[in-house]
């Protein structure tokens, strides 16, 4: 029971500490991307 709770807390910490910054970095990459060419560019 106690070990299971520890594992759950550990998994949540990992998601916050790795998953969240990774997604933020990914989101920033998308935001920094140059705008796509549209028909109006031509």
């Amino acid at each position: 029971m106690k070990r299971g709770l520890q594992q759950l807390v550990g998994a949540v910490l990992l998601i916050i500490a790795i998953g969240l910054p990774s997604c933020v970095a990914f989101n920033r990459t998308l935001a920094d991307a140059p705008p796509r060419a549209t028909i109006s560019h031509f």
């Binding site: 807390v9 910490l13 990992l14 916050i16 500490a17 990459t29």
Partner: protein
């Protein structure tokens, strides 16, 4: 009291540790994008973060496997390299790099993320086993290290017999070899229960297992599918002798019957010499 040998069925949690591989996946896309746009500093930061995180994930998996082996045995030396602890440090470092330079959370935010990742890894996967599992009762003058080495070498020989067995297509021989492997493992369990038996079982671990391994490997190499009745008969006789010897060894170890065991070993040694195996 010796316990009945039960066949073990692989890793109970094959997916343990996979989360550490999955969570950094968005960074792979960031790396591709940084490469495509020629943003070298971002590319380097991403690659460093990914290297730390995935190396940590791989190290963590190895640590978990070593821990499974350690827990399975009744006598075992603690893993020499603290893989899970090193993995937690690497994961923390990777998270720090990712949060500081890729998510722009600043050094303080990165440090918090790094500490959280390190703590999370240790909480989720635990620490490495640190203390050897020492044999209860008399060890017959052997150190835990010596006992573990002897058992590990014997396990490797049994695994080698199983590998050769897979190359043999004859189902009768395969099932007999499987029984031999189980009988051999049950002898190892007797030694684990009473390591004082190691002295008496040493000949078994060397003569019997080496003999069984050589016979099986030679047969698998020379007759993978060709049928030769005389050779098959010889091989069958040899396997029968080995199987019954293994079972008797276990019984005699349990009965502390040293003299009978020596006689039994001499009989098999003579047989193996006659067949040119040893």
């Amino acid at each position: 009291m010796p316990q009945i040998y039960r066949k073990e069925h692989g890793n109970q949690w094959p997916w343990r540790g996979v989360l550490l591989y999955v969570l950094p996946l968005p960074l792979a896309a960031v790396a591709v994008r940084a490469f495509a746009s020629g943003d070298n500093s971002r590319l380097i930061a991403t690659l460093v973060a990914l290297a730390c995180l995935w190396t940590g994930a791989a190290l963590n998996r190895r640590g978990l496997q070593a821990e499974t082996q350690f827990r399975r045995r009744r006598i075992a030396a603690a893993p020499r390299t603290p893989r899970k602890t090193l993995a937690a440090v690497l994961v923390g470092a990777g998270s720090f790099v990712c949060a500081t330079w890729l998510a722009d959370l600043g050094v303080l935010g990165g440090a918090v993320a790094g500490v959280m990742a390190l703590t999370g890894t240790l909480l989720a996967y635990g620490l490495d086993p640190r203390e050897d599992k020492i044999a209860a009762g008399s060890t017959g003058g052997y150190s835990t290290e010596e006992i573990v080495t002897a058992l590990t070498q014997a396990e490797a020989k049994i695994e080698s017999i199983a590998q050769s067995s897979r190359a043999i297509e004859n189902p009768e021989f395969s099932s007999r070899l499987e029984r031999i492997g189980e009988a051999a493992r049950s002898v190892l369990h007797v030694i684990e229960d009473d390591p004082g038996d190691l002295r008496r079982a040493r000949k078994f671990l060397h003569v019997y297992l080496d003999g069984a391994r050589s016979v099986t490997a030679n047969y698998a190499r020379t007759h993978p599918d060709a049928r030769n009745e005389e050779l098959d008969r010889n091989f069958r006789d040899m396997l029968e002798t080995i199987e019954s010897s293994f079972k008797e060894t276990r019984q005699r170890l349990l009965q502390d019957d040293a003299m009978d065991l020596d006689v039994q070993i001499e009989v098999l040694t003579t047989r193996l010499k006659r067949e040119g195996v040893i």
